[in-house]
Amino acid sequence: MNPLLTVEDLHVRFPTRTGVVEAVRGVSFTLGRERLGIVGESGSGKSQTGRAIMGLTPTHAEISAKRMEFDGIDLLRAPPAQRRALRGNRIAMILQDPKYSLNPVMTIGRQIVETLRTHEKVSQAEARKRALAMLEAVQIRDAARVYDLYPHEVSGGMGQRAMIAMMLVAGPELLIADEPTSALDVTVQLEVLGILDRLVRERGMGLIFISHDLRLVSSFCDRVIVMYAGKIVEELAASELSRAEHPYTQGLLDCMPRIGADRHPLPVLERKPEWAL
């Protein structure tokens, strides 16, 4: 099977006054129609990896890669118009906080319809029907009412579901979710993940799930990439997490408090300079 996404030796550099900061340093992976988790702490370059694939890297940054292909399309050399067409249509992204990613002065329904109609030629009535169906698919009970609400009138969990509905309405093949549930309460978090899980499974999408929470990612994804200082330190199947070999992955797993484990003090992660080499 041909991979959906191939990334080889991806670099993202930010020139600053004090020199060049390399946020991503030679990241390579392939993605089929599966769920891949990218885990790392702040500054590990996990979000910049996702943004580079999506084409949302700030303009002053430099991106280079030996290969960055989505379904045979060279993402680095694709003209801007083609990338825009891909974005939202075949590749979609969910961001952390729906408060900042939904337009505050447009109703939720209209935003979903707009998204759909920029990518497909459908009538207004048809678009509305599909938007409502999509809202139901993300388990919003009263879809017709939520359709006419503004983002500030719904809760965080509801907003994130609306965001997922908006991102998935055009039927993308690849979904990049950057900390999609970190701003939500734990119980809501699981509901949203359940919805995401079902949709990805049913539609056969590829999913890149970016998060700082190693345990959450491993419980949700098939495969996990662990990043540190802009590099991949370990790649492993989610089920094999307990057999992680890299001390960073082990340390990351170990330092979380667990209910029932009486460890005082908690083991701390000793960062070795050679990991960042």
């Binding site: 702490e41 119980t187 491993s218 330092c255 209910i259 005082h264 083991p267 701390v268 960062r271």
Partner: protein, 249 residues
Amino acid sequence: MTTALAIDRLRVTFDDFTALKDVSLAVESGESYGLVGESGSGKSTLLRAVAGLAPVSGGTINVNGKRLGRHRDKAFYREVQMVFQDPYGSLHPRQTVDRLLLEPLAIHGFDNSERRIMRALDEVGLGSGFRFRYSHQLSGGQRQRVAIARALILEPSILLLDEPTSALDASVQAEVLNLLEQVRADRKLTFVMVSHDLAVIAHMCDRLMVMQNGEEVEQLTAAELTARRVERDYTRNLLVASEGFRSGA
């Protein structure tokens, strides 16, 4: 044992929204007490009400046997200090660490400020190299250590912790939690800690209260939580949720 903090039917009302509905609790001296809940549960409001940062509209708060009035006096702040959630927002952006730590000493007229500042920095594991840095020259974990040093420099007996690690990376969280346990043991402090993370509370606290919508759901000991001896469904849901995602659940 004496009661460090006793709260009786505390009520907090913002305009016409009641954020805290008649919550009562008692924390023994030297104990570590946790408040768990999701957003809007009123757990942070309770902490802020004790600190005098939220409007109390009913009920009483007693600290070390003294009933608190509407206005907190200086002596109160010598007893009770607080560490905030967001390490990026809790340090003044135009002040050096030195200045941040000097301010409480100056307000309360402490002598020997030079030595106290050095000792406070040592205690939180920062050392004198950090003394003249501005907050933007510090990482999140370092900022939270400065915030802890600032809270401890007045030598309080009660420390209020409002999600002290939820903005930090997991590995940094472990370091800060260890630091907090260390200072509690060293100084025999009473902790009241708020978190949305059951595991953190279970790790840090002897007893805890689960809260929802401004009300108490139940009070438990950490041992009961560990043994899953919980009464209420809501607590059980939180316990399940804290274990991560299960497909098909």
